[in-house]
Subunit: 660 residues, 2 copies
């Protein structure tokens, strides 16, 4: 079956039969299309859809339920759910208490603030959050970031009160920033932290946190305030005489125990509670050991006094005065974004398992409120950490009530159990942090990235190396910059491919992808794989001309028909701007001079509209724009001159070209 | 002719006849594809193509010709060309001398440096430049930028020597920056200044420059150093008692004369030389007038002494010491980019008229060398200004020899004619600048932008208003930021459209663009108009789910067949990253749970490769990926269940969804 039989009948048919032509899409009033665009940008989820055609009282209830999802699910809450939530709540509390204390140490804050932060924020989230599986608490990376960013301004041990107040202030700004992003529907900013960025960043942060724990494990008193691997290593090895073997042995034993339980629980998910209970177990064992052996007098540092009682108010402690305000705002925004990205990613992952939806903007409002309230009640930055949420999920939680149960358990601890932590050795906390962090170094994901997408792997390694060798912020900036460059590069250097006809069909595809596709004699078919914007219009002009030159060289050397048509398949050109239209104009002029004809196929609505307004369609001729590549080729073939090796007009124009 | 007859025969045929399937493209070794990508990014013009298979001596000559195009065209230079170049060279010299003096005043430099800058740089460009029409010289915008950026650090009248040396240093850095961009093949950075940005920026700069001329026209001695319209207006109207009417009248007359000649020449391009000679005529007339009336004693400021002689060397004047180095580098880079962008755009425009090519990277090297050499010979920043090049083109120049002629004419002026400029009134220079600037305010282009592309219009107005109301740099930053945001927004918020079948064809198109296209019962066909990257993967997941929800609502309310297939037309998805693949995975899982089937049509080579590596194809099933939407619909129809209003499985899954 030849091309003539099968490939191009529709043209002949079309003429008599009224084949579909490319049309200028129906005009829309400017404000309507502006409105549509704004809606798609900021309200892609159409949050007001459910409010349509409802009475005012119903609207109020729906609105309340939007901001406080608890009103939506509480009426349907059953005793069955409560049983599950109780179990999971107590399980996560047993993880939350040692983790809270450990991470507060990591943030250079007194340990008690870790417990405070596991009391109020979970209650707020239980009312406002839309995830059923997220367990709220402090996270290692944000804690470390707080320590390194605030620590560069105020020394945590020399001026502990100011440092503490700055931590509250940063938390306050983090909350304000999170909530406003949510309210302003700017949640998509989080999307710019790609999966690859997060893998690399988390791995790097985990490495850095582990390195910091060498202080606790080795029982060192002096330690560098930098987080990069070189400073830390220098700090560790410059004071080998200060290493305490008691501390080291204890730390390694506990770390080994924690890793073994985690490994075991991972192999048998039914025994998740073993790994969940392990931190509390190590805390109890460690404290007992110190109490019995009086190791605190032999170089094993202990937590010491923890003040009994619930969170004191801290609203008056927020610092809004000039020299520290900028530091607090900067710390708040950066830690807020990082924490939010983790929380939302975690929430989404578990929601996917259970097949329900998480609204990113709503979650941001919940996180924001939780941190604003937290900053007024002696809490520092909280979010939904992965480890705790995974335990919550595995323990079979049904709703956010598990957070309430955890908060109550922490409350009981604060009221009655704080004295029991007096003898808890710091080395146990270091071991807990290290074991949690080792799980975050996701080398398998990095290998996957390497296999599937080299560019993503570069982003990931950029983030990792930046964090480990320079600084947490620098790693993040490197990764985001590379990611954005990739987007820009996609537009700035679009792929152009030559299409050929797939035998026995009217289909035209990339001849490199489908080697059996044949180029059409006398017609060069090019596909441009990106919108034509200012950033690529010069490039595309050069590249199209080069394709034509190369094609002519090829045809000349093989003695085939000379080129007569250049067909641009515009189906993949999503949009065009005025620079792009000028480029097409120039290409048309250049082709005209070389006695070639420009033909377009299948421009999308947006492009047709603009080409029409810019009078390009008029200039090119409506008859040179076709709905499909097949139609366009048929039209070209219909008018193709008999195969002439070199047309005289072309010779002349080439001579002209060669004139100085 | 129904769908069943015409639309889907190829599937039936394909099964027996071996229809083309989507295949994983042939594997390329990693380094080969990396090499290809790097080549496309940095060497899109394949500059080494002509060096292939040539002997070493030929290669050397070609290399020399690459960097010094004069060796390419000089052997073919004829007496005929010389005649044309002589005429055009003298014409542009008559424009260059008054413009040079005026722009040097604009840059707060002694007027003689404007003449110096029209002597050496044109000679360098004549050897290295690849444009035949560009006339080299200083430009108003870059001069003003130099004044405002250096002026904020060093006062031009209080410390003139340091200021002058900084101007040379900035020129040096501009040259180094330009040349290194060219050598590093980073010319595409200039492409990020879109057409719209340049229109707005040039208009704004021209407005600002005109406003600055009020000082000269009104004969004011004190004037603000800010460039924004508010400061300038305040400065002008706060000293109305200082206005000099003699100066004002003279200025207005000359401005009127210049505008009339320009208007006349524009109407009759044959008389281009009237407008080209007009500036020199006004200078001569003005000087004569002052000389005869001794107006310099009645408040009309004159140029005064101009030192006779050629450019003194200035290489020892370059300042590389700390407090001013950063200012010089910053000024150099910004003015360098702006000047280069103008020069390349101008060169390209005229090259298009004469149908030859300008190599952006080569031009940058030429501009860079011209400024490096210039900075060592008492010249400040030069490029190819539009006005001068247009006159050159109209005067019929043939090669860069016209630049040499102009340089020689300027040399004669420097050697013998400087005393004649003693009585030239400053107000004439102001009038010359103003008349040149008014031509740069391209309101017609702005109207065109508004008509064709609203976003480009916003970019243009952002640049204009930023420059006029704030600062030249701020205007530029605003415009570039908005332009980049647009690129990011294109990727972050891609359009998704529903496709329908165009009657009596196998073609599927956007149902909003082609209202006669019909949706296929039971199949939702979506097209995604952008690459699937981290920046849009969350959005696309939400949006696809929302399309499905809306479609199901529509079908339910109209009582049609329920949805069974979701078909993604991937032809317009140019690339995908790991976040995008995870998104597809998630969408597949969600659809599986809702008892819907995901089908892909026509993924491009790059996407197929990555989906294959990530095992997504295996997971989805090779049989659910089709070469065309038509094939995919045919396959769906083949397997479509009988039209069932609600399948039981779906009821169940919805119930599950509703559980808390």
């Amino acid at each position: 079956m030849g091309n003539a039989d099968f490939g191009y009948p529709s043209k002949a048919k079309g003429d008599s039969n009224g084949v579909q032509r490319v049309e200028v899409p129906p005009k829309q009033p400017f404000f309507k299309s502006l409105n549509n665009n704004l809606k798609e940008t900021f309200f892609p989820d159409d949050p007001l859809r459910q409010f349509k055609n409802k009475p005012a009282s119903k609207k109020f209830i729906l609105g309340l339920q939007y901001f406080f999802p608890i009103f939506e699910w509480a009426p349907r809450y059953t005793f069955q759910f409560l049983k599950s939530d109780l179990i999971s709540g107590i399980t996560i509390a047993s993880l939350a208490i040692p983790q809270g204390i450990s991470y507060a140490k990591l943030a250079n804050l007194p340990p008690i603030y870790g417990l405070y932060s596991s009391f109020i924020p979970p209650l707020v989230y239980a009312m406002m959050g839309s995830s059923k599986d997220l367990a709220v608490g402090t996270v290692a990376v944000a804690s470390l970031l707080t320590a390194s960013m605030l620590g560069s301004e105020v020394h945590a041990t020399e001026n502990p009160t100011l440092y503490l107040h700055l931590a509250f202030t940063a938390t306050f700004f983090a909350g304000v920033f999170q909530a406003s992003l949510g309210l302003l529907r700017l949640g998509f900013i989080v999307d710019f932290l790609s999966h690859a960025t997060i893998v690399g960043f988390m791995g790097g942060a985990a490495t850095v946190v582990c390195l910091q724990q060498l202080k606790g494990i080795l029982g060192l008193e002096q330690f560098t305030h930098s987080t990069d691997i070189i400073s830390v290593m220098r700090s560790v090895f410059s004071q080998t005489h200060q290493w305490r073997w008691e501390s080291g042995v204890l730390g390694c034993c506990f770390l080994f125990f924690l890793l073994v339980t985690r490994y075991f629980s991972k192999r048998k998910p039914k025994f998740f509670w073993i790994s969940a209970m392990a931190p509390l177990t190590t805390v109890i064992l460690g404290s007992l050991l110190v109490y019995l052996t009086h190791a605190e007098k032999h170089g094993v540092q202990v937590i010491g006094d923890l003040k009994k009682g619930l969170n004191p108010p801290s609203i008056t402690n927020l610092v809004f005065v000039s020299p520290y305000l900028m530091t607090a705002i900067k710390t708040g925004i950066i830690t807020g974004v990082i924490a939010m990205a983790e929380g939302i990613a975690v929430g989404r992952s578990f929601a996917m398992f259970k097949n329900y939806n998480i609204d990113g903007n709503k979650e941001m409002i919940a996180f924001g409120m939780m941190n604003i309230v937290g900053s007024c009640t002696s809490c520092y930055l909280t979010t939904g950490p992965f480890s705790r949420s995974a335990v919550n999920f595995n323990a079979g939680c049904k709703t956010a009530v598990s957070n309430i149960v955890m908060a109550l358990a922490v409350m009981m601890t604060l009221l009655f159990l704080t004295p029991f932590f007096y003898y808890t050795p710091l080395v146990v906390l270091s071991a807990i942090i290290m074991s949690a962090m080792l799980g975050l170094i996701d080398y398998e994901a990095a290998i996957h990235l390497f296999k599937v997408d080299k560019f993503d792997f570069i982003v990931c390694m950029g983030a990792y190396l930046g964090v480990v060798f320079a600084d947490i912020e620098i790693g993040l900036i490197i990764a985001v910059t590379i990611s954005l460059l990739r987007l820009l590069l996609f537009v700035a250097r679009p792929r152009t491919v030559v299409l050929g006809n797939i035998p026995n069909s009217k289909i035209y595809r990339n001849i490199e992808h489908y080697p059996n596709a044949n180029q059409v004699p006398g017609v060069l078919i090019l596909e441009i794989d990106a919108p034509i914007y200012f950033a690529n219009s010069s490039y595309l002009r050069e590249r199209i001309i080069r394709w034509i030159d190369e094609e002519e060289d090829r045809l000349k050397s093989s003695g085939e028909c000379s080129l007569q048509y250049v067909l641009l398949d515009m189906s993949t050109v999503g949009n065009i701007d005025t620079s792009g239209i000028s480029m097409l104009d120039e290409v048309k002029k250049i082709l005209d001079r070389r006695d070639l004809k420009l033909v377009l196929a299948n421009p999308v609505a947006e492009v047709v509209k603009k080409l029409d307004k810019a009078k390009f369609i008029e200039n090119l001729g409506q008859e040179w724009i076709h709905l499909t590549v097949g139609d366009a080729v048929a039209a070209c073939n219909f008018m193709l001159h008999t195969c002439n090796k070199r047309s005289p007009a072309k010779e002349e124009s080439e001579q002209w070209n060669n004139i100085v």
